[in-house]
Symmetry: C2
Subunit: 181 residues, 2 copies
């Protein structure tokens, strides 16, 4: 997948690499796209776990939200194949929202509870977080990829949840701590 | 399309309704999806023109942006088939952005020029406007459809472009003028 892109994958190439028979393949998956979806969902889940570890001890909801958003976008920047798969397979509607949606909702709720965010509808803010993630990711991947959109993306969303433009800019541009393995 | 949904459309049903031959069909379109795309792009363009007429004389960028966003979302609320087609056909990546993207960029630039908006990157803000539109639209259509998300959607985006939470709430809930025909 990372060498030839998602289109290079065939059921034959999977069974050959995994050294299993076609029958075994069809015991688990209906078609090629189901495998790819499963891979992406697993990768997104792993990323979600790493973000959880990163932000575990943090107390400022704005910082938690900003760091998570920037790492999400950066994953597509540093691994465009991953980015394309997330964008192309419309995983927005499935994996991304199912694995990361509840985490984002939790972080947004924490911001509301601590008086940091001013949103009245967590579900709509969650949808907007991921819908805009995918749109920005897609156009980054289609572009010449010279400008990493992570910080302006996070800055815009920090304003969306109610921070002042000045504070949003400051927080979105803080040094980004590394993701734990 | 409006009676049976996009899946009910076949090339045969189109040529029968339009009373043309298959050969004529293939002179203009490669396949079924190309026709549906063309219909949606035309409808989106019409909507864009109506929004242009509505906001033509207005001087407050925040009001222009808010009215346009609410009408866009309301179109899916009042015509779910239209909404589903826009969402399902991934028109985000094509028609919506090609027809409405430049209009949104123009309105956002007007907000920056008049000191009303505080965004540094118009392209990213445009992507986020439409990416979040599609995500909210999709989840509205999938839901029980009891709560129209238009106003909270516009309110969130008004904050995103830099308005204070108080002003964003006020503007997003102003009476919405009707779209001209």
């Amino acid at each position: 997948m990372s060498s030839g892109g998602p289109d290079s994958i065939t059921i034959q190439s999977i069974t050959r690499e995994a050294d299993i028979g076609l029958g075994t393949f069809y015991n688990y998956f209906k078609n090629r796209d189901e495998v790819i979806d499963a891979v992406i969902i697993e990768e997104v889940e792993t990323l979600g776990n790493r973000l959880d570890h990163l932000t575990e001890g943090m107390t400022d909801a704005a910082e938690i939200y900003s760091f998570s958003l920037r790492h999400l976008m950066n994953t597509a920047v540093s691994d465009p194949v991953w980015g394309w798969m997330v964008v192309r397979l419309g995983i927005a509607q499935q994996g991304l929202l199912s694995q990361l949606g509840p985490r984002a909702a939790r972080d947004l709720q924490f911001g509301v509870d601590t008086g940091r965010f001013q949103i009245t509808n967590i579900a709509i803010a969650t949808d907007m977080t991921f819908g805009s993630l995918l749109a920005v990711m897609r156009n980054y991947l289609k572009s010449d990829r010279r400008v990493n959109p992570s910080n302006p993306y996070a800055e815009n969303l920090l304003r969306m949840v109610g921070l002042s433009p000045k504070e949003a800019a400051e927080i979105a541009n803080r040094p980004l701590p590394k993701l734990p393995d």
